[in-house]
C-alpha cells in the first residue's frame, strides 16, 4: 500500500480489517471501508481504465463517482462504479473497455486513427447502403462492459416516502438546513450520495469536534431521517423526487426541498489533461481525508482559487511533497500564506502534461510570465497534477424543478436567480463558499423550507450574499497545436472537435452536443458541459451572461435498469369463480384487465376441437359461461329513464318494468362505442350491462354527462359487486327451473324479460339473453355467492358444459351478433353496423344524434355484412382484405368455422355497393391468393 498515509482523524477505513482484491491479475491491498478505486489508488495502480474511443489509459479523475473512468466489472457484474462501490475481500475486478486488459490493451492502436476520425465522423460516414456492415463492426468495438445473459434476476424494491422537508446533500449547508428545519418541527429526510455525512466540509475548515457534534445531533434528532449512499436522480412535479440507493428506489413526496447539492469541480483543459495522475483537487481531498491516501508523492497543483492552496497545505501537512502551486490567475492575493518553501507562481499557463512509464504523468510543462531573462517554459517533474481551477453547480435538479440559474461573473459560476415555490438552495450551489456562509445559508434555507412546509407563503426573492470571491477561472482552456486537450473524457472530445462543430454550423449548445456527443457519455457532462459551453460561447464571441443553461432530462445520474424494472404491479381481475375455471383446465386470456377462460382444455384435443366441442354442447344441450366481466351499472332516480334516453341511441323511458332492451352507445361523432342490455327493475331503477373492456370508460362518461346535465338520478358501478353467468342452450330452461322460484315458462318469462328471484337460494336478477343462443338466461348474483350458483348450475344436468370466450365468439357469430370494437371500428356508425333499428332519431336529443344527421345525409361509407366461404381450400383470416376493381373495398372483421353449420362464416365491413345478399366478395388471403365469399343473410343459425 505504497500511497497509504498514517492514520488521519475521521478516516472512513477500519485498519484492523485488511482486505485484498485482484485487479486484472495484480493483487491490491486495502481496508474495510475502502471503495474499489481507493484500494487501487492506495496500491499505486494508476491505470484504471481505457477511454471509450481512443483507448487511452485513464486514472482517477473526480473520485466522486462523477466521471466514467472508474467503471469496473466486479465479480462478473459490469459497470460498477468503483469510486463508491465498497471493496470486498477477494473480489475480482477488471476494466470494462479493453481488449486484453488495461495494461496491454490491444485496441490502443485506435488512437493512431484519430486524424481520420473527425467529429461527426459517424454521421458523415455511416449512412446509406454501407451502414449495416459498418454498424456491426462498430458495435462489436464500442460499448462499455458485457452483459451475462445468465445473470440472475434480482428484483429491486421500490418504496414510497413522505417528508416535510427533503434536504439533498449533507455537506455543511445541508446539515445546517436539516437541523434548522427539524428544530422548527418539520419531518426532514436528509440524503447524500456519499457513504457518510459531511461532504466537502471535511476539508473546508469544519473542525472535527463541531462536525462530530452536528453528526450526533442529526442522528439523535427524532425528526431527521438520514439516507446515505443515496442520490437524487430526478425531480418531478410538486416535489416528487426519485432517490436511488444501491439496492432500492424510493419515490419521495416532500412539501419543500432544500438543494444543498454543492458543486462539481471542473478540469483545466490542456494537452494530456487526461493522463492517469491528473485529477481534480477535490478528488485529492477525498483520497486524503476519507481514505488517507496520497494522490502522489510529488505533486503539482494547478490553481485558480483559494481551494488549491488549502489543498497544498493539507498535502504538505501529511508529508506529501508539493513541487509547485501554479496559479492561472495574475495574482493570488494572500492565498499562498503558510506555504513557505513551496514554489508558488502566478500568471501560469499549462502547456502539457508529459507521460512517463505506464502512461501516467511524470511532469507538467507550463509557460510562466515573462520575467526578462530565463526561459518562460518550465517543466516540473511530478507524479500527480491536481487541478483546482473552478466549479460548476450541481444544479441539474434545480433546473428540473423549474429554477432559473444565472451566471455571476464575479464568482465565475451559475447560481439560482429564481426558485419555484417550495424549492430552496443553499451552500456552494448557491454561490456560498466560505464555511460560515454555507452554514448560514443552510440555516436560512432550512427555516424557510420548514415554514413553507407548514403552509406559510414563500418570500419571492432569492437572497444571496453579494460579495463573492472568484472561485472559478473564467476560461481555463489552453489549446495546443498537437491537440489532446480533452474536454469530455467519456467521449474523448478535444477542443478542436468542438471548434469543428461550430465551423460546421452546429453552433448552439443543443446542436453541438448532438453533433460532437459532448456530455452524452455515462457521466452526462458533469465535467464537460460547462467547459464545452464555454468554448462554444467564446468561439462565437459570447459569454455565459448571454446564455441560459440547458436543462437535462432526468435522470441526473445513471440509474441501474434493475431499479426501474423492479417488480411488476400489473393488476389482473379475477371473477368469483376463478378457481372453478382453473379446476376445469381453463386456458386464460386477458380481456379489459380481467382474466377470462379462453377455452377449457380437454384431454388429447386441439384448441380448435375443444372450442368446437363447447359450441356443440351449447347448441345441443346447454352451456355455462362466466360473464361477470361485463360492465354492470345501476341507475336510480326519477330522471333515470330520461337520462338513458339522452345517453343511449335507443329509447328507454317507455320500457316496461320487468323488460329489457338492447342499447347502443354512441360518441358525439355518432360512432358506435359500446353496447349492452338495459333492464328496467322499477319505475326509477334500471340495471344495464356494458362490454367488458368498455365498463370503466362508459361508467365514467355517464358521470361526466350528468355532471353537465345535472338530472335527478344517481349511478352505481356494480361491475365488481356481482357475478354473472349466461346459461344458454335448448335445455337451459329445464335445467334451471328446479333451481329457481322464478317461473321460466315462455308465457311467464318471454324473450326480453327481466325477473328477480332466487337461484340456488341466492337473490338473483335473471334476464333472457339471446346473444349466443335463442334460449338463454343471464343470471346476476352477488359476488360472494357466485361460486354457489356456478356449482348449482353446473350440476343442474349431466350435460352442462362450461364454455369460454372463443366458443362464445363462434356462437354469437352463428347468431349474427356483431361485437362492438371487433366488427366495428372508430369510423363505424350504427346504421353501417346494422344497428340502425336500435337508434331512435325521433327523440329530441341523444349523444351522437347531431352527427348521425350528417351521416344519414352523406350515406353509408361501409356496411357490415355476413358472408359464407364456399371455397375452404385457401386459409382466410380475420383482417384479410376485400378487393373490388383492384382497390381495397373492405375487410373481414370476424371469421369462424361453424361447428353447427360445418362451414366457415364471418362478418366483413365492405363498400355499400358490395353489401347485397348473394353478392360475391373477392377476399385476398394472407398468402396473396384470392378467394370468393358470398354475402349471406344473418343469423347464420336459426332458432336453436
Amino acid at each position: 500500500m505504497m500511497y497509504r498515509l498514517p492514520q488521519i482523524p475521521g478516516e472512513w477505513i477500519d485498519r484492523s480489517q485488511p482486505l485484498q482484491l485482484e485487479f486484472e491479475g495484480d493483487a491490491a491491498q486495502g481496508f474495510a471501508g475502502d471503495t474499489v478505486t481507493a484500494v487501487l489508488a492506495a496500491s499505486g495502480i494508476l491505470r484504471l481504465a481505457r477511454s471509450f474511443k481512443y483507448h487511452r489509459p485513464r486514472g482517477i479523475h473526480s473520485f466522486a463517482n462523477h466521471d466514467a473512468n472508474g467503471l469496473f466489472e466486479i465479480d462478473g457484474v459490469p459497470n460498477q462504479r468503483g469510486d463508491v462501490v465498497a471493496a470486498r475481500n477477494g473480489a475480482r475486478v477488471r476494466a470494462v473497455n479493453t481488449r486484453g486488459g488495461v495494461a496491454r490493451d490491444r485496441a490502443s492502436w485506435v488512437e493512431w486513427l484519430a486524424p481520420f476520425l473527425p467529429v461527426g465522423f459517424y454521421y458523415k460516414a455511416f449512412h446509406g447502403s454501407n451502414f449495416a456492415s459498418w454498424e456491426r463492426r462498430i458495435r462489436s468495438f464500442a460499448g462499455l462492459g458485457s452483459i451475462s445473459a445468465d445473470a440472475p434476476k434480482l428484483p429491486t424494491p421500490k418504496r414510497y416516502a413522505f417528508c416535510d422537508v427533503l434536504v439533498i446533500g449533507a455537506g455543511p449547508s445541508g446539515m445546517a438546513a436539516a437541523l434548522t428545519a427539524a428544530d422548527a418541527g418539520a419531518r426532514v429526510l436528509l440524503v447524500d450520495e456519499n457513504a457518510r455525512l459531511g461532504g466537502s466540509g471535511r476539508w473546508s475548515g469544519l473542525p472535527e469536534n463541531v462536525f462530530a457534534d452536528q453528526l450526533a445531533r442529526i442522528s439523535a434528532h427524532e425528526h431527521i431521517e438520514v439516507s446515505t449512499t443515496t442520490f437524487a436522480a430526478g425531480y418531478y412535479a410538486d416535489h416528487w423526487v426519485a432517490l436511488v440507493e444501491p439496492e432500492r428506489l424510493t419515490k419521495v413526496r416532500a412539501r419543500a426541498v432544500v438543494f444543498a447539492t454543492g458543486v462539481i469541480e471542473q478540469p483545466a483543459i490542456f494537452r494530456n489533461n487526461d493522463l492517469p495522475g491528473v485529477l481534480t483537487g477535490s478528488a485529492a481531498q477525498r483520497l486524503l481525508t476519507r481514505f488517507a491516501i496520497a494522490p502522489g508523492r510529488r505533486v503539482c497543483i494547478l490553481a485558480a482559487n483559494r481551494e488549491g492552496y488549502e489543498l497544498a497545505r493539507a498535502l504538505r501537512d501529511h508529508g506529501v511533497t508539493v513541487e509547485a502551486v501554479l496559479d492561472l490567475r495574475a495574482s493570488n492575493d494572500q492565498d499562498a500564506a503558510g506555504l513557505a518553501g513551496v514554489t508558488c507562481l502566478t500568471g501560469v499557463e499549462p502547456i502539457e502534461a508529459i507521460a512517463g512509464s505506464q502512461g501516467a504523468v511524470r511532469a507538467l510543462r507550463v509557460m510562466t510570465p515573462d520575467t526578462g531573462g530565463a526561459s518562460r517554459v518550465r517543466t516540473f517533474p511530478c507524479d500527480a497534477v491536481l487541478m483546482s481551477v473552478g466549479f460548476a453547480p450541481a444544479g441539474q435538479l434545480l433546473l428540473q424543478a423549474g429554477a432559473t440559474l444565472h451566471y455571476d461573473t464575479q464568482l465565475g459560476q451559475h447560481i439560482p436567480a429564481k426558485l419555484p415555490k417550495g424549492v430552496f438552495a443553499a451552500g456552494r450551489v448557491a454561490g456560498e463558499y466560505d464555511l460560515n456562509e454555507r452554514e448560514r445559508g443552510g440555516r436560512a434555507a432550512g427555516a424557510a423550507a420548514a415554514a413553507y412546509a407548514r403552509g406559510e407563503p414563500m418570500s419571492a426573492s432569492v437572497d444571496h450574499p453579494r460579495a463573492f470571491r472568484q472561485v472559478s477561472h473564467p476560461y481555463p482552456v489552453y489549446p495546443h497545436r498537437k491537440g489532446r486537450e480533452f474536454v469530455d473524457l467519456d467521449e474523448d472530445i478535444q477542443v478542436k472537435d468542438l471548434l469543428a462543430s461550430v465551423q460546421e454550423g452546429y453552433d448552439s449548445l443543443e446542436l453541438m452536443k448532438r453533433f460532437s456527443t459532448l456530455g452524452m457519455g455515462p457521466s452526462q457532462g458533469k465535467h464537460s458541459n460547462i467547459p464545452g459551453a464555454n468554448i462554444l460561447l467564446r468561439a462565437r464571441g459570447k459569454s455565459f451572461a448571454d446564455t441560459a443553461l440547458t436543462t437535462q432530462r432526468p435522470f441526473y445520474h445513471p440509474v441501474p435498469l434493475k431499479h426501474l424494472a423492479g417488480r411488476g404491479f400489473h393488476l389482473a381481475r379475477r371473477s368469483a369463480v376463478h378457481d372453478r375455471h382453473a379446476a376445469l383446465g381453463a386456458h386464460w386470456m386477458t380481456v379489459g384487465g380481467w382474466q377470462r377462460p379462453q377455452y377449457y382444455a380437454r384431454a388429447a384435443a386441439s384448441m380448435a376441437d375443444c372450442i368446437a366441442a363447447e359450441v356443440r354442447a351449447v347448441r345441443d344441450h346447454a352451456g355455462l359461461i362466466d360473464v361477470s366481466t361485463l360492465g354492470k351499472i345501476e341507475i336510480f332516480g326519477p330522471d333515470a329513464g330520461a337520462f338513458l334516453d339522452r345517453m343511449y341511441a335507443g329509447r328507454f323511458s317507455d320500457l316496461k318494468v320487468g323488460h329489457t332492451r338492447y342499447g347502443v352507445l354512441l360518441d358525439e361523432a355518432g360512432i358506435v362505442r359500446d353496447d349492452g342490455v338495459v333492464a328496467r327493475l322499477g319505475d326509477h331503477h334500471f340495471y344495464f350491462t356494458t362490454t367488458t373492456s368498455g365498463a370503466t370508460a362508459v361508467y365514467r362518461d355517464l358521470l361526466l354527462w350528468n355532471a353537465r346535465w345535472r338530472m335527478d338520478c344517481a349511478f352505481v358501478n356494480a361491475t365488481g359487486h356481482r357475478a354473472a353467468f349466461n346459461f344458454a342452450g335448448p335445455s337451459s330452461r329445464a335445467a334451471l327451473q328446479p333451481l329457481t322460484d322464478i317461473d321460466l315458462s315462455e308465457q311467464a318469462f318471454p324473450a326480453l324479460g327481466a325477473r328477480q328471484g332466487l337461484v340456488a337460494g341466492v337473490p338473483a336478477r335473471v334476464v333472457r339473453a339471446g346473444f349466443v343462443s335463442s334460449l338463454g338466461f343471464e343470471i346476476h348474483v352477488p359476488f360472494h355467492a357466485g361460486a354457489t350458483v356456478w356449482d348449482a348450475l353446473m350440476k343442474s344436468a349431466p350435460t352442462i358444459c362450461a364454455f369460454g370466450v372463443e366458443a362464445q365468439r363462434v356462437l354469437r357469430l352463428e347468431k349474427g351478433h356483431p361485437i362492438v370494437g371487433q366488427d366495428t371500428d372508430g369510423l363505424t356508425n350504427p346504421m353501417e353496423a346494422g344497428l340502425g333499428w336500435a337508434v331512435k332519431m325521433d327523440k329530441p336529443f341523444f349523444i351522437g344524434q347531431r352527427s348521425l344527421r350528417i351521416h344519414q345525409q352523406r350515406g353509408a361509407r361501409q356496411q357490415l355484412v355476413g358472408f359464407v366461404l364456399d371455397d375452404e381450400s385457401v386459409a382466410v383470416a380475420e383482417a384479410n382484405l376485400v378487393i373490388d376493381g383492384g382497390e381495397i373495398a373492405g375487410r373481414i372483421t370476424s371469421l369462424a368455422r361453424s361447428p353447427t353449420l360445418n362451414r366457415t362464416v364471418g362478418f366483413a365491413l365492405v363498400a355499400p355497393r358490395l353489401a347485397g345478399v348473394g353478392g360475391v366478395l373477392a377476399i385476398r388471403a394472407s398468402d396473396g391468393r384470392q378467394v370468393a365469399a358470398r354475402v349471406a343473410p344473418t343469423p347464420f343459425v336459426g332458432a336453436t
Binding site: A237, R700, L703, R708, R710, S851
Partner: protein, 88 residues
C-alpha cells in the same frame, strides 16, 4: 407526480385523475354542419388559463379545474354545480 386538489377528496396524486379536456358548451342541434364539425374536432391549444373537466377516478367525481396550460399550474378546483348550466 403532480398533486391535484379534488374538491371532494382533497389533494391526491395525478395517477388518480383523468381529464376530459376543456369545459365547452355543446352547440344547439340546429347549428350548421360546419359549426358542429368544429365543435367535434377543433380544440383551443393557445396557452391560457382554461377550465377543464377532471375526474377523481376512485370516487367517480367530476369537477372543474382552472389550469394555466402554459405553466401546468392548477389555480383552483370546484364542483361542477358552480357552472350552473352556463357551459353545458
Amino acid at each position: 407526480m403532480k398533486i391535484i386538489r379534488c374538491p371532494l377528496n382533497g389533494p391526491r396524486p395525478l395517477l388518480e385523475f383523468v381529464s376530459a379536456g376543456e369545459v365547452r358548451a355543446v352547440p344547439d342541434a340546429d347549428c350548421s354542419d360546419a359549426e358542429w364539425t368544429a365543435y367535434l374536432y377543433t380544440r383551443r391549444s393557445v396557452p391560457a388559463v382554461r377550465r377543464e373537466w377532471w375526474c377523481h377516478t376512485p370516487s367517480g367525481y367530476w369537477f372543474v379545474a382552472e389550469r394555466d396550460t402554459a405553466s401546468d399550474e392548477i389555480l383552483k378546483t370546484y364542483d361542477a354545480a358552480a357552472l350552473a348550466g352556463s357551459d353545458t
